[in-house]
């Protein structure tokens, strides 16, 4: 029982990070029906940027909390720029091409960004400074750290903020309108390219935060970290119902839980297999995803 509770707590922390990354996949899919495989690498760039900038800030004598905040903001800015550039340079020219072309381009962008990651940051594992305390806190039989609590709380706040943005603002309505029908949205005076760029920017900025979270949680970052994380988050998005914001969040949290609770029964090496088996099972019995459902559209 204690083990189960502990694994649920661990699962929620990891799952909330998956959910943040999954949102990036699902937002882009919702609006372009494109799987942006480069999104995992955007997360990596966010993490590595934060490693270097926060270390520099600490060296300049800045306090850890301020350094974390500024480094995260900088990462968000860098990732949003990278995301918008990827869309502008790689995906937009292919917007009317057969679906396979942008898909292959997305994979190519993923590899390209990894290589750029090596060129800019290097091949090493870089340690992420402990900016928020990782001293264990024990509640009953469950142990966590201030860092983990921070990750979970910030993730939930960000998800709530995104939902609010998408459902309660004019820009959010435009995003949903573009996702549903680009041509008609254009007729309403929506600048579709701008909305798509904003979508990439928001998704990438969320990815940057997720990258900082992963780096801080594991205490390290490297150029290849985005690959498995991206794949997992993509799995989470599909599991929840790709294109659906709630789906990405539910899928992310669920995947984190499944993986960590699964660890009670299988050895750590099998953790990844567990996640993908769940994906296969969900896809067999509910191909539209757990939350994914469409409103009846009458002609």
């Amino acid at each position: 029982m204690d083990v189960l509770l502990q694994q649920i707590v661990n699962g929620l922390v990891v799952g909330s990070v998956y959910a943040l990354v999954a949102l990036g996949y699902t937002m882009v899919y919702g609006i372009l029906q494109l799987i942006n495989f480069a999104h995992g690498e955007v997360v990596m760039i966010g993490a590595l940027s934060a490693v270097f900038s926060s270390k520099w800030m600490l060296a300049m004598g800045m306090g850890p909390i301020l350094a974390l905040l500024l480094a995260t903001l900088l990462s968000m800015l860098i990732c949003a720029t990278v995301g918008v550039l990827i869309e502008r340079l790689a995906y937009r020219p292919l917007r009317n091409a057969p679906r396979l072309a942008p898909l292959i381009t997305a994979i190519a962008m993923s590899i390209l960004l990894q290589q750029i990651g090596i060129l800019v940051f290097g091949r090493n594992y870089f340690t992420f400074p402990e900016l928020i305390s990782k001293t264990p806190l024990t509640f009953g039989h469950v142990t966590t750290t201030p860092n983990e609590i921070m990750i979970f709380v910030v993730s939930v706040l960000l998800m709530g903020g995104l939902l609010w943005l998408v459902h309660n603002t004019k820009m959010g309505a435009a995003m949903r309108a573009v996702a549903e029908n680009q041509k008609i949205a254009g007729l309403m005076g929506v600048d579709i390219n701008k909305i798509i760029a904003i979508t990439f920017a928001i998704g990438s900025a969320l990815g940057a935060i997720a990258g900082v979270m992963v780096a801080s949680n594991y205490g390290q970052a490297h150029y290849y970290m985005g690959f498995m994380l991206g794949l997992k988050a993509f799995t989470a998005a599909v599991m929840g119902g790709i294109g659906n914001l709630w789906g990405a969040m539910v899928g992310g949290l669920l995947l984190g839980l499944v993986e960590n609770v699964g660890l009670i029964f299988v050895r750590g090496d099998y953790k990844d297999i567990f996640a993908f088996v769940v994906l296969v099972v969900v896809l067999i019995f509910r191909p539209q995803g757990l939350v994914g459902e469409r409103v009846a559209e009458r002609a």
Binding site: K170, A173, A174, A177, I184, A185, G186, L187, M188, V190
Partner: protein, 237 residues
């Protein structure tokens, strides 16, 4: 009267096949003009070119004295042209209210927008009853009303309607045309594309007959209604 919309020698082609072969027509301020023709005559292609959804291969479109040929659709809204597309095109996953707000997307006067939405609700009470419902759950007729209401929220000088009667029950068609007439009476210029020639000519001031991408007849709507050639081809003798 001055021409609000003037189309000269417009040509539209899809992959080398000409759908519109150099048509010219005009819509004067305050008029309701209809473009009628059989299925595939090129009515929708014409509208698509006018609304910036396809790039014409030849000809010019002048609106309010400005050349607007090939201007993208999102930029036309700001100039005062609104299109109510074929098949309604409401956002099924947005609420009725959100759909109407999308119609006013290019505007910034929030208070006035809300007042106008209330006006639309007054004109079409059915929409008011369903304001929070997702548009995808509305009936076809209700969706058409919503699409027209949404187009009006752009405060267009020129409202272009693409087959507003399509697929609707006769009673609903009557209601839709009541709304269109009301809009025209309030001073909005209307360009109406219709397959139902009788209905279109009964309501419009002037008409053009489109056949295989060319305008074959034009004139006063009442005169066209009485024209034996129109009668034979479109009004069932």
């Amino acid at each position: 009267m001055s021409a609000l919309l003037e189309v000269r020698k417009l040509e539209v082609a899809y992959g080398g096949i000409k759908a519109i072969k150099g048509i010219s027509f005009r819509v004067d301020e305050g008029e309701m003009v209809t473009l009628i023709g059989a299925n595939g005559a090129g009515k929708s292609s014409t509208l698509r070119a006018l609304s910036g959804l396809v790039m014409p291969v030849g000809g010019t479109v002048t609106y309010n004295g400005k050349d607007v040929t090939g201007v993208p659709s999102h930029a036309l809204v700001g100039l005062g042209i609104a299109l109510c597309p074929e098949g309604r095109g409401v956002f099924a996953r947005l609420s009725v209210h959100e759909n109407l707000l999308m119609g006013a997307y290019a505007r910034k006067d929030k208070a006035q927008i809300l007042r106008e939405i209330d006006e639309i609700y007054g004109m079409i009470p059915r929409l008011k009853e369903r304001t929070a419902q997702l548009a995808g759950t509305l009936s076809g007729g209700e969706q058409q009303m919503l699409a027209i209401g949404r187009a009006m929220l752009a405060r267009p000088k020129l409202l272009m309607l693409d087959e507003p009667s399509m697929g609707l029950a006769p009673l609903m068609v009557e209601k839709i045309f009541e709304i269109i007439n009301l809009i025209a009476k309030r001073g909005t210029t209307v360009l109406l594309i219709e397959q139902n020639a009788q209905l279109a000519l009964e309501n419009a001031n002037r008409g053009y007959v489109l056949e295989s991408g060319e305008i074959t007849l034009s004139g006063d709507a009442k005169a066209l209604l009485a024209d034996p050639r129109v009668k034979a081809a479109y009004l069932g003798g």
